[in-house]
Amino acid sequence: MNAATLHRKNVKMMRHGIAKVLLYTFLIAFGIFMVYPLLWVIGASFKPNDEIFKSINIFPSKVVLDSYVKGWQGTGQYTFGTFLINSFKLVIPVIIFTIVSSTMVAYGFARFNFPLKKPLFGIMIATLMLPDSVTLIPRYILFNRFGWVDSYLPFIVPALFASHSFFIFMMVQFLRGLPRELEESATIDGCNSLQTLIKIVVPLCKPAIISMSIFQFIWTWNDFLNPLIYINSVDKYTVALGLRMSIDGTSVIHWNQIMAMTVIAMLPSIIIFFLAQKYFVEGVATTGLKG
C-alpha cells in the first residue's frame, strides 16, 4: 500500500466522518422539532395550573408535583388506571383480529383470481370515502339492534371481519411487492394455500404486519368519537374519554393534570413503537430468505 492510496483512503474516511457529523446534526436538529411537543407537554404537567396558557416556556416557573397523583385519581369514582386497563381490553383483541383478518383478506385479493374481484376490491376501497359523520347514526342503530351498545363489541367484532380497508389495501400492496417464486415452490412442495400463507407469506410480511399493529394500536387507543358514542358507563371509559371527561368551559379545568395524564396515556404507544421497530431492521433482505 503506497502513500498515495493511504492518503486517498484517509481523505475518504474524513469525508465520510464529516458527512456523518452533518447527518447526525441534521437528525438531531430535526429531532428536536419532533420531540418538542412531548417536552412541552411534560413541562406543562409540572406547571402550576394557571401558568399553562400564560407562557410558551417548556420549563415551569415553579414545579408542581401533585398533578400526576391528582390526575390519576380523577373524579374519585374511577382512577385513570381503570381507563388504561379498559383501553388495553379494547385495543388488544382489535389488533389481533385485525392482523388475522386483514392478512387473510389481503392474501385473497393479492394472490388469487376470482369472479368480481375488481368490483369487490373497488367497493372495499370505496368504503373509506364516505365521511363518518353521516354513517355514524345508522351504524349506531345497527349496533344497538345487535345489543352491543355500552360494550367493546362495536370495535372488536368488525375487526374480526376485516372492516379496516386501510389495512387490507396496505397488505395487498406489500404482497404485490413480494416475488411469487417462494410461494410457488412451496406449492410444488405440497403446501396448500393456507400453509403457504402461514409459513411463507406471513414471515415475509413481518414489517408490514408490525406496522399494521402499531397503527391499529395508536389509532384505536387515541380514538375519541366512537368510544364516546358507544360507551355509556364510566367504568368502561377508555383513555381518550378519560382525558376529556372533565373539560368544560364552566368549571375549573386542571390542565396540568390533563397534561400529566396525556403523558401517561402516550407511554404505551411510545414503548410499543420503540420495541416494534427492531423488526424493521430485520427485513426480508437481511433474513436471507430470498436466496
Partner: protein, 295 residues
C-alpha cells in the same frame, strides 16, 4: 384449467370475512346515508322525502359549498405531496444503518402518537400565534412575524403543516417498504458504478412504488376528509379560509341537525374522492412496479 377454477373458490373463501363484514356492518349505513341524501332528516324526526332538493340547494344556494370545496382541494393539493415526499425523505434517512437510529425513529414518530389530542391543538396555537415560537425563530433571521393562523391566505397552509408534521404512519410504511428491497439489487448497482441518484431512481423508487401508490391513495382519501386539524385549531376560520368540506358536513349534521343535507354533501364528496382515486389507479399502471408481475 381445472386448477385455475378451484383457485377461484379459494380466493373467495379468503376474502369472505370481509364480504360478510361489509354486508353486516357497512352496507346498511351506506345505503341509509344514500337514502337520507334525498330527504329532509333532522336525526330526531322521521325523514321526509324531498327528491333532488338537497343536491340542487347545494349547487345553487349554499354559500359555503363552493368555498369549502375550494379550501378542501387546496388542502389536498398542498398536504399530500408535502407529506409524502417528507415521509419518504425521512424514511430513507432512518433506513440508514446508524448508531442509535432506534431512538431517532421513535422521536420522529412521536408527533403521530399525539394524534388529535387536546395537547396538540393547544401547542399548535402556541407555535403559530403572533408572539409564538415560530415567529420568534424567524425573528432571529430578521424575518417579520407572520399571522400564521390569522391571515386568511396563510392559515390553510399552517393547518396543513400539522398534517405534514404527523407524517409518521406514511414514513413507517415507506420504511417497511424500503426494508423489503433486496440488498443484492444495490450491490449489483454498486458493481456497475451507479451514482446515488441513479440508485434512487432506478432501484429504490420502482421497488417501493407499490407502497408509494398506497400512501398516495390513502393520504388523498384522508386529506379530502380532513376534519380534526382545522376543526380544533382554527374552527374553520379566519373568514372560512380553513372551513374544509368535512366541517361543512359536520356542522350540517350535528350543529344544524340537517342530516339529510349533510348526507347529500357527503355523497358529492364521495363521488369526488372516487374520481380522484380512480385517476390514481388508472395512472398507477404507468408508474408502479409489481414484483408479482402486476396482475
Amino acid at each position: 384449467m381445472k386448477y385455475y377454477r378451484s383457485k377461484n373458490y379459494i380466493g373467495l373463501l379468503y376474502i369472505s370475512p370481509w364480504i360478510a363484514g361489509f354486508l353486516l356492518f357497512k352496507l346498511y349505513p351506506f345505503v341509509m346515508s344514500f337514502i337520507y341524501s334525498f330527504t329532509e332528516f333532522s336525526i330526531l324526526d322521521k325523514p321526509v322525502f324531498t327528491g333532488l332538493d338537497n343536491y340542487i340547494y347545494m349547487f345553487t344556494k349554499d354559500k359555503l359549498f363552493f368555498p369549502a370545496l375550494k379550501a378542501t382541494l387546496a388542502y389536498v393539493l398542498m398536504t399530500v405531496p408535502m407529506k409524502i415526499s417528507f415521509a419518504l425523505f425521512v424514511a430513507m434517512l432512518l433506513n440508514m444503518k446508524l448508531r442509535s437510529i432506534n431512538i431517532f425513529r421513535t422521536a420522529y414518530y412521536l408527533p403521530s402518537i399525539f394524534g388529535g389530542s387536546v395537547a396538540v391543538s393547544v401547542l399548535w396555537r402556541f407555535l403559530f400565534m403572533k408572539e409564538g415560537i415560530v415567529n420568534k425563530f424567524l425573528g432571529f433571521f430578521g424575518i417579520k412575524s407572520i399571522d400564521w393562523l390569522g391571515n386568511p391566505d396563510v392559515a390553510l397552509f399552517t393547518v396543513s403543516l400539522l398534517a405534514v408534521w404527523q407524517f409518521g404512519s406514511s414514513m413507517v410504511i415507506f420504511l417497511a417498504g424500503l426494508k423489503q428491497i433486496p440488498n443484492e439489487l444495490y450491490e449489483a448497482a454498486i458493481v456497475d458504478g451507479a451514482s446515488r441518484m441513479r440508485k434512487f431512481f432506478s432501484i429504490t423508487l420502482p421497488m417501493i412504488s407499490p407502497v408509494m401508490f398506497f400512501n398516495l391513495v390513502m393520504q388523498t382519501i384522508n386529506a379530502f376528509q380532513e376534519f380534526t386539524g382545522p376543526y380544533v385549531i382554527t374552527g374553520g376560520g379566519p373568514m372560512n379560509a380553513t372551513y374544509v368540506y368535512s366541517i361543512l358536513v359536520y356542522d350540517n349534521a350535528f350543529r344544524y341537525f340537517r342530516m339529510g343535507y349533510s348526507s347529500a354533501l357527503s355523497w358529492v364528496l364521495f363521488l369526488l374522492i372516487m374520481v380522484f382515486t380512480a385517476l390514481l389507479f388508472k395512472s398507477s399502471s404507468y408508474w408502479t412496479y409489481y414484483e408479482d408481475g402486476g396482475k
